[in-house]
Amino acid sequence: MAQPRTAIVRTADRSAAERLGSVSTGNALELRGVTKLFGALAAISDVTISVRPGERRAVLGSNGAGKTTLFNCVTGDFLPTSGTIRLFGEDLTNFPAHERIRRGLRRTYQISLLFGGMTVADNVYLACLGVSRGRFSLLRPRPSDAIVARAHELIEAVHLTRARDTLVSALSYGQQRQLEIALALAGAPRFILFDEPAAGLSPTERSELVAILSGLPDHIGYIIIEHDMDVALRVAESVTMMHNGRVFKEGTPEEIENDAEVQELYLGGGHG
């Protein structure tokens, strides 16, 4: 069984985030009528989703359902063709990506998007640096530097301490996925988008992942995209099903699992 681990999200960050979160009433993440067209192709159409602060939502659907496009719109990789996106009440629709991150949004990627030529320590350090001050600092950090310390803590929390000075390109696949998660937990995240975090993991690694996700502090809400129904339905308290770029059904995991239409389209065919 996994040992009690160091707090992934530090108390100081947690209270800061909680304070921010409690000020705004209403939803943590709110999408209204979001549509994204690529030429004539509608990757997502008229998607309306509301996620409350601290809620754990799974977005499921077959390939091409528009899940990753949805994430890309929320993080700001591209602007939606129409619709609005609100994070904790603030309209982020036209914000550049880095502004959204600085408001507490985080994301992991389906295919690990890491800095292969840098060490694990540097990757995590960058993640911690990105949401703090001193990003343009031309001063080398002192040994007692807060950001460096934070980075070390985070590395420890995802059990990568021994690999701290290893090049990311030399890590195993599972370790890289762990690192992806660590990057998303840097700073004071308020809402995280997990894009297929369980892809390619062994059963043990998958259990660890579930443990990490379930163990996240209550104030952090997240959306998880997954093909692995097992993982998704265990860590989520509500489910949104997408099909052909539209929201097809919403409900609790039990409702979705037992829904006849969903079974016909997805669950009958086994795991993706």
Partner: protein
């Protein structure tokens, strides 16, 4: 992907003198003692020029190697700094030069050139990487044509002559030995500055932006802002190089930043190697030696001494074709082969 990117290393000791490897000591001593056995010509025309060109090419290397942006504006930035020195200081063109003191015109020259470089960066960084070459080349050309046509400020085709360094401590800094040490000091300082920068949070973030701008944005970094600040840092170095250049030539003309000169800086940086800051200086040394001895070499193989550009072009093509990482790339491959030949059981260095 040859190099391990330097980690943001917490400072241990200030200078870490004990960690400087032996070859660097040897090189350092050699450079310091050079005036003892090199002629004035070699000191001034080959080393001095190499240090200057190396600094300007270093400015390009910072943007290309650490920032992933190949910019052709560096020579223009340098020339602008030279022009400001000529315009605000003293020159042979007395109707334009203002004759201000050096402690005014030198900082102003660096400032103005750096601001110019930053503005160019701001214009160029929002588009795909390969556009940067085009945009900076076009702006460099505009500068060239403008300075050539403008007589009120830039004195047009003729430019400014008799631009010499101030007589600090009563020394004529254009004499071979003082000039050598002055340019050596500037080159070393800029080299150290770049090495330092690469291990700072900013430097690490810049390299992150180079490697994966999408990921950096998703970590909260403003990619555009980082790139622009990189231009500022690089332009400052080029500006200092430009001041030294105008002193060396004792003149500045539109031709100082003509298109061939602008491209030559790229050639120097690429031939030397864009991966580490020593590369541009290696490239500059090769270029300076070739320039000086080209006609002799050409005569030796029976060609007219005028075909220098042909030699440069063919050499450049050879480098890009066979060793795109330049001389540094060749060196790295050589080192890698030596490591591979060593017995793995006995271990090697890192």
């Amino acid at each position: 992907m040859a190099d391990v990117l330097p980690t943001v290393a917490p400072r241990k000791s200030l200078l870490a003198l004990e960690r400087i490897p032996a070859p660097v000591w040897v090189l350092g001593l050699l450079l310091l003692a050079m005036p003892a056995f090199a002629s004035n010509f070699v000191l001034f025309q080959i080393f001095g020029w190499s240090f200057i060109l190396g600094m300007i090419a270093l400015s390009l290397m910072v943007l290309a190697g650490y920032g992933g942006m190949v910019s052709l504006i560096q020579m223009t930035v340098a020339a602008l700094a030279g022009y400001v020195v000529a315009i605000l200081g003293t020159s042979g063109v007395t109707q334009i030069s203002l004759g201000w003191p050096w402690w005014l015109y030198i900082p102003l020259a660096i400032l103005i050139a750096t601001v110019f470089g930053t503005l160019v960066g701001a214009l160029g960084v929002r588009t795909e990487g390969i556009y940067t070459i085009m945009i900076t080349l076009a702006i460099a050309a505009a500068f060239f044509y403008f300075t050539r046509q403008n007589y009120g400020i830039f004195n047009g085709y003729t430019g400014f002559n008799n631009v010499i360094p101030p007589a600090w401590f009563g020394v004529d800094w254009r004499q071979a030995v003082p000039f050598y040490y002055m340019t050596l000091a500037c080159a070393v300082l800029s080299y150290l500055a770049v090495m330092w920068m690469s291990r700072t949070p900013f430097g690490l973030a810049l390299q992150g932006v180079r490697d994966n701008p999408r990921r950096m944005a998703a970590l909260g970094f403003s990619v555009t802002a980082h790139r622009i600040v990189a231009y500022t840092f690089a332009s400052a170095i080029a500006a200092v190089g430009g001041i030294l250049l105008v002193w060396q030539n004792a003149q500045v003309t539109p031709g100082t930043a003509g298109i061939p000169q602008v491209i030559d800086i790229l050639v120097i940086a690429v031939v030397g190697g864009l991966k580490r800051p020593i590369g541009p200086f290696i490239g500059a040394l090769i270029y300076a030696i070739l320039s000086v001895f080209a006609s002799d070499i050409l005569h030796a193989i029976g060609m007219s001494g005028e075909r220098f550009k042909l030699v440069v072009g063919l050499g450049f093509l050879a480098v890009v074709g066979f060793s795109p990482d330049g001389v540094l790339g060749l060196w790295d491959k050589y080192q890698a082969r030596r490591e591979a030949n060593r017995d793995p059981l006995l271990g090697g260095g890192r």
